[in-house]
């Protein structure tokens, strides 16, 4: 008879401590129902084991045995929550084991009423109760469960303390820094986004990117972003984003949620993965009040998906386009002003009255004569150029005299157009020359030229040296 219970008694020593002596003693109560003498079947020949017993009897004995185990409180993560008509089922899990649990609906309602809300999937809880066994029947399967009579959600204090310990550990290993040192382009061309496929965060991010005037490439890494089991999937999505290349920055985002909901973002291996990733990660998973470990490890931590998008594209591209156009216009205007200032004196020549041109021509002829009197070589070079200049002026003068009403305005218009939006270099290409000091500073007057003595005359193709006669 004793043998019938030997199989029911947990043999390992650690289970024995939970079971206690009271449980062992209770087994005697079911002894009578498991009498092998009442069964008609014969045992296995040669087997020294007692029995055979009716399975129903054995199952009932097992139930009695399990129920006799000491009532205890267990703590772990609540997962696989599902309701039936009479009972609520779930599992308690931690890193080393799991236990199937069942609560009568009535008790569940009481727990819910007291907490104000039903304990949610992924929550860290404390459950009070004891072992139970449903013996099954001819038409239903048996099942073991930990019958929960009461349950409370582990205080946020417990969770925060655990997270804080992990945060200090990661900080001590220097894992909060590497992401912050990664360079992030001002205008990323490609952004990887890890978020729930149906979440509102997705729309928020897209709307924010559109407001930034950004329309590059988005790579969606859809992953669950709720319970702790999401952590490995989020980690893999980020690693894949880093691996496919061309992604400049990644965002992990979701809407708000309770701290328990955010536990997956406090997962140690996820945080370690992110810390060592070469891809900068922007986290937007919690709130100001619930800071997750991912927020600490990431390059940037934001409180909303919108902020995350703005952190990814730091430049308001729409505004930048406008500013760039303004900068380009200002640059053109400055360039034009600089050229026109110098070109105006040249332009004046083409507009000057004939008498002025005559005077200029006379002056040039005089200079020509003066130069001839100078050194042969220099005179020859300078003379050639002066002749050309005189020729140009003569031509202009005659054309100006020819028709000063029609052609001149047209000419001016053309000149203005040509100057507008063109390089100073173009002016030189059109035959003008720029007089500079040997150091390259522009000379704007005859007086300055005389003072300088030696000058450089810059043409479009090259710059030549020249010397100014001292006499007027």
């Amino acid at each position: 008879m004793e043998g019938a219970y030997a199989g029911l008694v947990p043999s390992s020593s650690d289970a024995g401590s939970v079971v206690g002596t009271a449980a062992l003693a209770a087994t005697a109560a079911v002894a009578a129902t498991a009498d092998p003498g009442e069964t008609s079947a014969r045992g296995i020949p040669g087997s020294e084991l007692p029995g055979p017993y009716e399975v129903g009897d054995y199952a009932a004995a097992l139930r009695g045995k399990l129920r006799s185990f000491a009532q205890v409180q267990l703590t772990g993560e609540l997962v696989n929550l599902r309701e039936s008509r009479a009972r609520v089922y779930f599992e308690l899990r931690d890193g080393r084991g799991a236990m199937p649990c069942a609560v009568w609906l009535k008790d569940w309602e009481a727990i819910r009423a007291r907490a104000g809300t039903a304990p949610a999937e992924g929550t860290q809880v404390v459950a009070a109760g004891g072992c139970d066994f449903y013996p099954g029947s001819a038409t239903s399967s048996p099942g073991f469960s930990f019958a929960v009579s009461d349950l409370r959600v582990a205080g946020e204090g417990d969770l925060l303390a655990r997270i804080e310990r992990l945060r200090r550990k990661l900080a001590a290993e220097g894992l909060l820094e590497p992401q912050k040192l990664l360079a992030r382009p001002l205008i990323p061309r490609s952004i990887g986004i890890v978020t729930g496929e149906g979440g509102k965060a997705r729309e928020d991010v897209l709307a924010a990117l559109a407001r930034r005037g950004w329309a590059g490439r988005v790579v969606w890494g859809f992953a669950p972003v709720q319970d702790r089991h999401a952590a490995p999937l989020i980690g893999r999505a980020l690693q894949d984003l880093a691996a496919v290349g061309e992604v400049d920055v990644a965002i992990v985002t979701r809407g708000g949620g309770s701290l328990a909901d955010l536990l997956c973002f406090c997962d140690e291996s996820l945080c370690r993965t992110v810390a060592l990733l070469a891809l900068p990660v922007i986290a937007s998973v919690g709130h100001h009040t619930d800071r997750t470990l991912l927020d600490d490890v990431a390059a940037v931590s934001c409180s909303t998906p919108t902020h995350a998008a703005e952190a990814a594209v730091r430049l308001d591209c729409g505004r930048a386009r406008g500013e760039l156009a303004v900068a380009a216009a200002r640059m053109r205007a400055q360039s034009r002003r600089a050229v026109i200032g110098r070109a105006r004196s040249l332009g004046l020549l083409s507009r000057a009255p004939a008498s002025h041109l005559e005077r200029q021509r006379a002056l040039l002829h005089q200079r020509l004569r003066e130069m001839r009197a100078g050194s042969r070589r220099r005179a020859r070079d300078e003379g050639e150029r002066t002749k050309v200049r005189a020729l140009v002026l003569e031509r202009k003068a005659s054309s100006a005299l020819l028709d000063c009403r029609v052609r001149r305005p047209r000419e001016l218009e053309r000149l203005a157009l040509a100057l507008a939006g063109h390089d100073p270099q173009r002016t030189l290409e059109r035959g003008y020359a720029l007089v500079q000091t040997p150091q390259g500073a522009p000379i704007g007057s005859g007086a300055a030229a005389r003072t300088a003595g030696r000058v450089r005359v810059r043409f479009a193709d090259e710059t030549v040296a020249a010397e100014i006669e001292a006499r007027r």
Partner: protein, 78 residues
């Protein structure tokens, strides 16, 4: 490319453009310097415009799982 070499980033390029415009606006630049600055500024503005241009089209959306699957197929085929 400008004398300052190829611009390394949008930040650097746009900051330099600001600098150039400030200098030009001051009116202190000689003609020679103006010519040089305008030339450099043009190059930088073209670079910035190119960067903005690259994110100016239509938003392109890809799925990571499809991208990964494609890469895996390609690597198997190779």
């Amino acid at each position: 490319m400008s004398a300052a070499g190829p611009p390394l980033s949008y930040e650097a390029a746009s900051a330099r453009v600001e600098e150039i415009i400030k200098r030009l606006d001051s009116g202190e630049a000689s003609l020679g310097e103006t010519l040089e600055l305008v030339k450099e500024g043009k190059t930088l503005i073209e670079y910035c415009a190119g960067e903005l241009e690259s994110v100016s089209g239509a938003l392109e959306e890809l799925r990571l799982d499809e991208l990964v699957a494609r890469l895996e197929r390609e690597s198997e085929g190779a």
